[in-house]
Structure formats: C-alpha cells, structure tokens
Amino acid sequence: MALLEVSNLGIAFGGLQAVAQLDLSIEKGHLYGLIGPNGAGKTTVFNMLTGVYKPTEGNIILDGKDITGQNPELISKSGIARTFQNIRLFNDMTVLDNVKVGLHNQIRYNMWTGILRLPAYKEKEHEMNREAMKLLKIFDLDKEADYKASQLPYGKQRKLEIARALATNPKLLLLDEPAAGMNPNETEELMHTIHSVRDQFGVAILLIEHDMNFVMGICEEITVLDYGRVIARGDGKAIRNNPKVIAAYLGGD
C-alpha cells in the first residue's frame, strides 16, 4: 500500500464543486506534482489533506490510517506537514523559534519542566536548538536565526516555512508554490534543496507549482487538475505533451 491513498475526494463550497472525485496515491519518498490552472482546486486539495477543510466526500488514508476529516493538529501528528500559498509564518517570533515551534511534537517536555526549569528543560532546549539549527542550515537560514520572521525577504520566508514544516518530522510534505517569488537561480537552488531533503529525510513530497521547469525538473509523477477534476496524470514528459494540459494550462507556443 502506498503512503498516501486518496480516493474519490471531493468538496463543494456552496454551489461550487471545487474538487471532485480525486484519486491520488503517493509512495514513500516520492516527489509528486500537482498542477493545474488557477482556481483548479489544488490548494483546496492541500486543505483537505491537512484537515483545514472537511471533505464532503471521499477518503484520505495515510500509512494505512484513515485520517479523513480529522483536525489539523492530529493530522500533523500523523505525519503530514505543509507550507502555505500565502506565507504563514509566526511573524513576531524569531526564525529559530519558528522552527522550534515546528519541533513541538518531536521534542517534548511539559509545562512544569519549563516553569520550574527542571534539568530536563536545559537538555531538551539544547536538543531543540541543535535540531532547529540543523534544519536552518539546510535552507541557508542559519545566519538569520535571530531575525524576526517578518524581516526576511519573501524568498527566505518561503524557505523558512519549509524548514518549519520539516521540523514536524513528516512522512508527507506538502509544498504550495514553494518557488513563487523566486528568481530562476533561487528556484534552481530550491530544487537541489528539495531533492536533498527527500534523500536525507526519506519524506514523500507533494508540491503545487506553476513554474514548469521546476515541476518537470523535480517531480517523478504529476497530476493535473482542472475545475476540480483530474485531467491528466503521468511523468513530466507525458504531461508536457498532453493536449488537454496544453489547452487548459500550459498554452501552446
């Protein structure tokens, strides 16, 4: 069985069927792309996978466990982490603390340990700092650890979001337009980073992106949505040449 099994997933907002009859299956450690025109329902799929929206139909099974309709906290614990299309950082907290919040369920000690500064506090905090810095280093953010998140430029904010998501030690990482607002060089760099993250953490990655070089360069399999429905599926090459995809999404040259 695959890591993520989505079957017949759908949601409607009022009269609008934003996503319908979506099937998706992602293997452990896979790099998977989800693309489609604006408003196709990609972000909505992410929102259902992470419990932000409750699907009106269908099932989501992660690692053999049905997580359909669970709340985001639980889903995070089950092993799905994400970034957001509109960046959502903890703006008034430092870069380091942003990642440490991501470690919330990984390195734990209870409230009293913190308040009474029991020995475990120091130990665990050190561990957290170590882990967090390790992650920041991967994304080349270690020098900005003390900055407030809001003071980072856009591109770095995107990276910080990914670092934070990774801190939750997910089995599946969802990235919503990670390269938006980055120039080609930065995008290139990000591709490498994502590859190495996958290799290092063995995490499956599902990503949404409109930058075709990025998607084609990185994804092993791609699903294309249009008006909430799957219109194509396959590897980069197949997608690039699919006439439906060209018509709805890529546009002919």
Binding site: T43, N47, V52, Y53, F84, N86
Partner: protein, 294 residues
C-alpha cells in the same frame, strides 16, 4: 397585556441602545477601532441640547442640529488629534487612547458643568404618547421617535455605504487601508467622515437617550456607551442592521429579565444571554463570518 408593556419598555430602552450602537458600529466597521469615547460624545451632545433647548428655550430640532454640529466638530477633532497619529500602531494602542479621551471628556464636563445632575426635558415633550387598548398600554412619544429615528438612520446608512462613492471608500478602507489608498481613496478623510457621521449620530442619540431617561451627568454616557458596544457586538460588530437588532434585543432582554426573573441579577442575566449567543454564533447575530482562505 402586562407582558406587552414590559416588552415596550424593553423596546424603548433597546431603541436607545440601537441608536448609540449604530454610531459605534459605524466607526468600528470602518476605522476598525473601538471608540470607547463614543458614550462621552453622547454626553457632551446631551449637554448641548440641555442648554440650548432646556435652558435657552431653543426650538428642539434646532437644538439637536446645533448639538450635531458641536459633536461632529468634537468627534472629528478627537480623531484628528488623538487617533490619527496612531493610525499605523497596534489597534490596542488606539483603544487605550480612546479610553483616555473618554476620561478627558468626563473631566471636562465635570469642570464645566459640575457633577450635579440635570433633569433633561424631553425634546419631544410636545408630542402625545400613543395609547392602545383604551389606555391600558401606552407607548411614549420618545419611544416612537427613537425607533423611527433608528430605522431611518439605519436605512440611510446602509444606502449611503453601499451606493455612494464615499460609502465605497469606507468599505475599502475597512478592508485594507494601503490598498484603498492605491485606489485613490483618501484614507484620512474617509475616517474623518466616518467619525463625523458617528458623532452626529451620537448627538441624536444623546438627545433621545436623555429624553427617555432624563438624568444628565458627566457620567451619563459611560454605561449606555458600554451597553451599546455590547449590543453592537451582539448584533455582529460592523453590521449596521446588526447594531439595530442587537440594540433592540439587548433592551428587551434586559427589561424582560427584570420583569420576570430578577431585578437584582438582570445585568448578569443580560450578559449571560450574550455569552451564550456568542458561543452559538461566534460572530454575533448578523455578523459576517470572516472567511480566511488558507
């Protein structure tokens, strides 16, 4: 019959709350600030009417117009001096300044007019109360006028906001000031206009509040101000019909709980109902649910 009379008392009180709440919600809805000095602007307005109409014998309509002018100038000045410098500051900062302004107005009123209570002569004392069921039930002229004023103001406000350029500017400012500026909206002028309208409404509210409940003191505006704020939230803050509905309901709940449960605990009951309603309907009765797209 008795029930009806309590109900009418409630509506009467509620219509006053509603009138005040309209001013609150207007300012809140556009400027996104809780203007805790609103009640005190009402108090100042009432004093103006008291002296112009009660003491100097001016025509009541003229007295109210005068009071509206005074309150508008006052409201716009307060906004200019005390709130505008904090436009970009956290909203709590403005809240605290508003509280400072509230203290200030009360102190000024006390120094100017002493703390001795004044008994307000109803501005509609010329009108006859409505008598129903052969006199078993009377609805005072104040109540009738207040309700009519409320409805008229509500309708005009809704029309204004939705159908005039200035109204559109208000909507835009309430959503995103920076973006509104980029549309060519003069944010400061729009907020000033909002305060002008809110304060003019405060003058009307003051005259009618004191006509129904005639004791006038420097603290007169404080409690009705808070209650009206509660009413505005109850109805869904920022929503004009919500303010009306919230005000009326608050008045009714307050009076019915006095009538049938306990006069001693009626405040607690009113607030309890409010809490329960908000738990069930977290954005108030007519409040928009804010859709955060993730």
């Amino acid at each position: 019959m008795q029930f009806l009379s309590y109900l009418i008392n409630g509506i009467s009180l509620g219509s006053v709350y509603a009138l005040i709440a309209l001013g609150y919600t207007m300012v809140y809805g556009i400027a996104k600030m809780l203007n805790f000095a609103h009640g005190d602007v009402i108090m100042i307005g009432s004093y103006v009417v008291f002296f112009a109409f009660g003491s100097a014998g001016m025509n009541p309509v003229l007295a109210i117009v005068l009071s509206m002018v005074v309150c508008t100038v006052l409201g716009v000045t307060i906004e200019r001096v005390a709130y505008r410098p904090l436009r970009e500051a956290p909203s709590l900062a403005v809240l605290i300044t508003a509280i400072g302004v509230s203290y200030l107005l009360q102190q000024v009123a006390q120094l100017a007019w002493t703390s001795n209570p004044k008994s307000f002569t109803s501005v509609v004392s010329g009108l006859k109360p409505i008598s129903l069921f052969g006199g078993q039930l009377t609805i005072s002229a104040e109540t009738v006028v207040t309700i009519i004023a409320c409805i008229v103001i509500m309708v005009v406000l809704i029309w204004f906001v939705n159908n005039t350029p200035a109204g559109h500017a208000m909507l835009a400012v309430s959503e995103d000031r920076g973006a509104a500026q980029l549309m060519g909206v003069n944010v400061n002028a729009t907020i000033s206009l909002t305060f002008a309208i809110g304060s003019a409404l405060a003058a009307v509210a003051g005259a009618l509040l004191c006509s129904s409940y005639p004791t006038l003191q420097p603290t007169t505006g404080a409690m009705p101000g808070i209650k009206a704020f509660v009413a505005a939230v109850f109805g869904g803050i920022g929503s004009i019909p919500g303010a009306f509905l919230g005000g009326i309901l608050l008045g009714i709940i307050e009076n019915l709980s006095k009538a049938y449960i306990s006069t001693q605990l009626s405040d607690a009951i009113v607030f309890l109902v409010l809490v329960v309603v908000l738990i069930v309907k977290p954005t108030g009765l007519l409040g928009k649910k804010v859709n955060v797209k993730v």
